[in-house]
């Protein structure tokens, strides 16, 4: 890999990566080359112009500001970094995130946070279909609405939606918790509305705080989760599949 030419002015100024000048490969390699404890903690990516796989597999606690919109899988498998996309994100943003956080200032396409194991994904606009599909511990907060089939087969973690949810929310859900403030078009198989107990209000307040949401009370949300009727196969439930 050739040495990258960087406009690095001072130790704590952000390292600026202009994707008009440098390749995606150079960007991701530079991020992967970061040693633990590196003082290059601030990064800025210019001209992403819908590039796929921007800042994937980062495993150091650095802050990455992406100035523009990204394509597929931005922040995929993120482990510990803080990524902010000052634009919208294509499909699979933050897929399989382990830890850290990703904030999308605009909207997100399909599969946002798919299979995420941990960390926080904040979408300040709307998210499309299958948001939080197969989530496994990630927390997702969407300021706007989410599309159909969101939280399909969601295993664990929390999905918070300040707006509305599309059809078949939480289909075949396992133990993930869903909090929706607006209306839900329909619930998927085995997903039911559940009582909001004090511990859930507390949990939700913590998620709203972490996501920087103000002026919204946990009591405005409804909670949804698994009825657990499909956990062990029973032929009399066959119509539910």
């Amino acid at each position: 890999m050739p040495a990258t030419t960087l406009s690095k002015t001072a130790a704590h100024d952000p390292r600026v990566f202009d994707l008009d000048q440098l390749s995606l490969r150079e960007l991701n390699q530079a991020l992967h080359n970061l040693a633990p404890g590196s003082n290059e903690t601030a990064w800025e990516v210019l001209n992403p112009k819908g590039s796929h796989s921007v800042a994937v597999g980062v495993d150091q606690p650095v802050a990455i500001d992406v100035r523009g919109s990204v394509g597929y899988y931005c922040g995929g498998m993120n482990s510990g970094s803080t990524i902010t996309v000052h634009g919208s994100a294509g499909p699979g943003v933050g897929e399989n995130m382990m830890s850290g956080s990703i904030t999308i200032k605009g909207d997100a396409s399909q599969y946002a946070g798919a299979t995420g194991k941990g960390g926080l994904l904040v979408i300040e606009g709307n998210a499309s279909s299958r948001c939080g599909i197969s989530m496994k511990g990630i927390d997702i907060v969407v300021h706007g609405n989410i599309g159909h089939m969101s939280a399909f087969m969601a295993q664990s973690g929390n999905l918070v939606v300040l707006g509305d949810a599309g059809d078949a929310l939480g289909d075949s859900i396992y133990e993930a918790r869903l909090f929706v403030r607006g209306k839900v078009d329909s619930l998927g198989a085995d997903c039911i509305a559940k009582e909001m107990r004090p511990e859930h209000l507390e949990l939700l307040q913590g998620l709203l705080d972490r996501a920087g949401v103000t002026g919204v009370k946990p009591s405005e949300f409804k909670r949804y989760g698994s009825a657990r009727t499909l956990y062990n196969f029973n032929i009399d439930n066959a119509d539910a599949y």
């Binding site: 995606l24 490969r25 991701n28 390699q29 992967h32 796929h52 796989s53 994937v56 597999g57 495993d59 394509g71 597929y72 899988y73 995929g76 498998m77 482990s79 499909p91 699979g92 897929e95 399989n96 382990m98 399909q110 599969y111 798919a114 299979t115 194991k117 299958r130 599909i133 197969s134 496994k136 511990g137 399909f152 087969m153 295993q155 664990s156 075949s172 396992y174 133990e175 956990y231 062990n232 196969f233 032929i235 009399d236």
Partner: protein, 442 residues
């Protein structure tokens, strides 16, 4: 003395045979479809329907045991910085921790490593047992993404994007609650004891154009070091192979319907997908049409049992084969020494396929701590290594007899078919004729 008409012998229906009748009764009594492990059990056109011609006046053989016959293969040279180099063209197929016990996974790693080949994770993530004991480990990237994480991705030697498998092209996985122990539950982020349903599609991509972007992401995460395989069930091998190549795969894995599963509906295993023999030539043809044969490697699996099967697959244009069921048998699966216990389970050694129930007397397809003690990973790994060695020697014996100094120099011209079906599927002449059904207008 009264005359009695001669009785007719009671005749059972070929259509409604004993197995069919028992299955109707079972379905009526339980209301649940039959779930089992392993691959298709019905008789199918297979490698047994092909023969090698050997050398004769027109070509001379190599001296057995004296003249070299290379068995090595490099996988992933198209894009990966670190391709996989194997001493033998026989790899161990993906089988999950969860469906298999920890000691069984360790034994597979040990056996493969002794033999200079790779083993593969499964739908349950990477365990320390298999990473620690496998010199070359292929990490499967599955729809469920159970246990998927970037650390394991980077300590894998190759990544296999699993689109489908031969036992159930288009089907997801199923691990019934009996096998969801604390450890399996934790690895899969699921409550203990529930039925685990693996999705049939990847959650964040559909179709070949998305796959190309997904492969790019995996390459970027792993800094373009790892070979990326794409595994498909044997359904449309020509187009699936072509699309996998287009999406950027380094290696294409095609699994025929004899390839095993941990647990799938019987009706799915026996009625969906194509026999391994029928998958090979279309996949090879796709690579040849794209000018990518031997550049993108082809691995074929499903019913590989001995060195003859290996040699036949390679002669048809495959770069390597993969074994799953046969490897489990080498470890001790379905061993007659446990016959009394198989009988208690209502079956017999050789027929036991209720792998999903977790009560495997051989201790392989179980999470029962007592049963799994029956697998000694060192001894079982040694048996697997012995078996792989025998298969390799057998394949070399055939290749030398055909005058080849490398297994990969075997070619379709070395083969004939015993049946019209096999001739058509393999694209080789019916023995004693120059007739290849479907070729030259016939």
């Amino acid at each position: 003395m009264t005359y009695r008409n001669p009785p007719t012998t009671p005749r059972k229906s070929a259509t409604f045979d004993d197995y069919t009748l028992s299955e109707i009764r079972r379905a009526a009594a339980t209301g649940i479809y039959d779930i089992r492990g392993a691959g298709a059990k019905r008789k199918l056109p297979h490698f047994d329907d092909l023969l090698f011609l050997g050398a004769s006046i027109s070509r001379y053989p190599l001296e057995g045991y004296r003249e070299r016959c290379d068995t090595s293969v490099v996988l992933g040279s198209r894009h990966a910085k670190k391709p996989i180099e194997l001493k033998i063209p026989i790899t161990i197929a993906g089988m999950s921790f969860g469906s298999l016990s920890g000691p069984a996974k360790e034994a597979l790693g040990r056996g493969a490593t002794l033999s200079g080949t790779s083993t593969t994770t499964g739908d349950g993530g990477m365990t320390e047992e298999e990473r620690g004991h496998s010199k070359q480990l292929v990490y499967q990237y599955l729809p469920s993404r159970y246990g998927m994480n970037p650390r394991d991705l980077r300590r894998a030697d190759a990544i296999e994007v699993v689109v489908g498998q031969g036992a159930k092209p288009g089907g997801g996985g199923m691990l019934l609650g009996q096998k969801i122990s604390d450890r399996v539950a934790e690895m899969r982020t699921l409550p203990k004891g529930i039925d685990q349903r693996s999705a049939s599609r990847h959650p964040d991509w559909t179709g070949p154009d998305d796959l190309e972007i997904k492969i790019l992401e995996l390459r970027e995460i792993t800094d373009w070091e790892k070979p990326i395989y794409v595994k498909v069930g044997g359904a449309r091998p020509y187009y699936d192979t072509a699309l996998a190549v287009k999406a950027g795969a380094d290696v294409v894995v095609v699994d025929g319907m004899q390839g095993g599963t941990a647990a799938t509906q019987e009706v799915f295993i026996e009625n969906v997908g194509m026999p391994t023999l029928a998958c090979i030539r279309p996949a090879v043809q796709a690579l040849q049409d794209l000018g990518m044969h031997r550049k993108v490697q082809l691995i074929v699996s499903g019913g590989i049992r001995n060195g003859a099967d290996v040699a036949k697959a390679l002669a048809l244009g495959v770069d390597a084969v993969s074994i799953g069921t046969a490897a489990l048998v080498a470890l001790g699966d379905n061993d007659p020494r446990w016959e009394a216990e198989y009988n208690e389970l209502g079956t017999t050694a050789g027929a036991y396929d209720d792998w999903h129930e977790g009560r495997d007397p051989a201790g392989i397809t179980t999470q029962d701590p007592e049963l799994m003690k029956r697998v000694d990973p060192v001894a079982a790994g040694r048996r697997l290594a012995n078996y792989l060695k025998v298969m390799t020697l057998e394949a070399q014996t055939i290749a030398r007899a055909c005058g080849k100094n490398s297994l990969h120099n075997l070619e379709p011209e070395d083969l004939v078919a015993l049946t019209i079906e096999a001739a058509a599927m393999a694209g080789v002449p019916l023995a004693g004729t120059n007739w290849i059904p479907g070729k030259n207008g016939f």
